[in-house]
């Protein structure tokens, strides 16, 4: 089902859903959370609003890694409010990492498309209908939100942060020539089977994991579309981008450079 080349375009995107294809598309949003008690209700409310206003069939899968701040209780309330067919709680015992959270979430996903995003309100669900539109337009395997093109952008970053971001992205583009403008972004839409395949192949963690997904996708000839997004950073003030993060980013980048 995953289209490997852009040529293979039976006008799937232009057919009515009631045609020969077995039912409408469903979009599963994977929300890994850790200590998001404040933000979780808000992000879920925004997701429900965006999906309902566009008449899109969806489900939201919340993967909480045993947050000590009561995120789980908040998630349970949301499940009561919106229904357990729309809000799926699939928690884990402790903080286990993003890749495994995605794998865990996908096991329970009944959609044929998966959306990954941050739960801290830096990614706005209003872009999801645009991702979907873009995906259908080009029959893409992946649609990636980009902060660096079109009217994409950020809020809440000072000069230093912007410099690091653009500098890192520049080096990444030179070294990896990835065919996507925003590699460390994590607001993306994937065909379910494409995400499954990529996660199997990826070995890195953190920022580099998101980069590796795109690089591997290119290796496997998956098609990638881009949609400009706005990234509203409310967290940056508290968590400075430290020397450690930069070093591990560079190490990850060089590893990808040498191995892909």
């Amino acid at each position: 089902m995953a289209s490997k080349t852009a040529n293979r375009t039976p006008p799937r995107s232009r057919r009515e859903p009631e045609g020969r294809f077995p039912g409408p598309d469903k979009y599963s949003v994977l929300l890994p959370t850790y200590n998001e008690r404040e933000n979780l209700p808000l992000i879920v409310w925004l997701l429900v609003k965006s999906f309902s206003e566009s008449g899109i069939n969806y489900e939201i899968i919340i993967i909480d890694d045993g947050s000590p701040d009561g995120t789980r209780e908040v998630a349970e309330q949301l499940e009561k409010i919106y229904g357990s067919d729309k809000i799926l709680l699939r928690p884990r015992e402790k903080k286990l990492g993003l890749g495994t959270a995605y794998i865990h979430g996908m096991k329970h996903a009944t959609g044929n498309y998966i959306i990954i995003m941050d739960a801290d309100l830096s990614h706005h669900p209003k872009f999801i209908p645009e991702f979907i539109r873009k995906q259908k337009e080009g029959n893409f395997d992946i649609v990636s939100g980009t902060r660096y093109k079109g009217n994409g952008g950020v809020y809440g970053w000072d000069l230093k942060r912007k410099l690091i971001s653009r500098g890192a992205n520049f080096i990444t583009q030179i070294l990896l020539r990835p065919g996507a403008s925003d590699l460390t972004g994590s607001f993306r839409l994937y065909r379910k089977e494409v995400l499954q395949k990529l996660i199997e192949k990826c070995v890195s963690k953190g920022y580099v994991f998101q980069m590796e997904m795109i690089v591997r996708a290119r290796q496997l000839n998956y098609t990638i579309g881009e949609v400009p997004i706005t990234f509203v950073d409310r967290v940056y003030g508290e968590s400075k981008l430290g020397g450690n993060e930069i070093v591990s980013f560079l190490k990850g980048l060089l590893t990808l450079f040498a191995t892909t």
Partner: protein, 90 residues
């Protein structure tokens, strides 16, 4: 072929072409040789300047999304009100 391997190949090819020409493989006139010899250094410096200029330009034109932040703030208020109505205890 990995990206690293591609780079090494490209460098090896260009490097050996440059070395061959500067050491006299094609009997070039001395004026050509004079230009050719420092070429790698010039290329490096130009590449560095290009990189700085590109990154500088991109930082300067990096969109600051104030509208998005404002919109988010008002939607947060709306969300909290609506959720409280539906029985959410924050």
């Amino acid at each position: 072929m990995t990206k690293l391997a591609q780079w090494l190949w490209a460098l090896a090819l260009l490097g050996s072409a440059w070395a061959a020409l500067t050491l006299g493989a094609l009997d070039l006139p001395p004026s050509c040789r004079e230009v050719l010899w420092p070429l790698p250094a010039y290329v490096l410096v130009s590449a560095g300047c290009f990189a700085l200029a590109t990154v500088g330009y991109r930082v300067a034109t990096f969109h600051d999304c104030e509208d998005a932040a404002r919109e988010l703030q008002s939607q947060i208020q709306e969300a909290r009100a609506d959720l409280s109505r539906r029985g959410m205890r924050f």
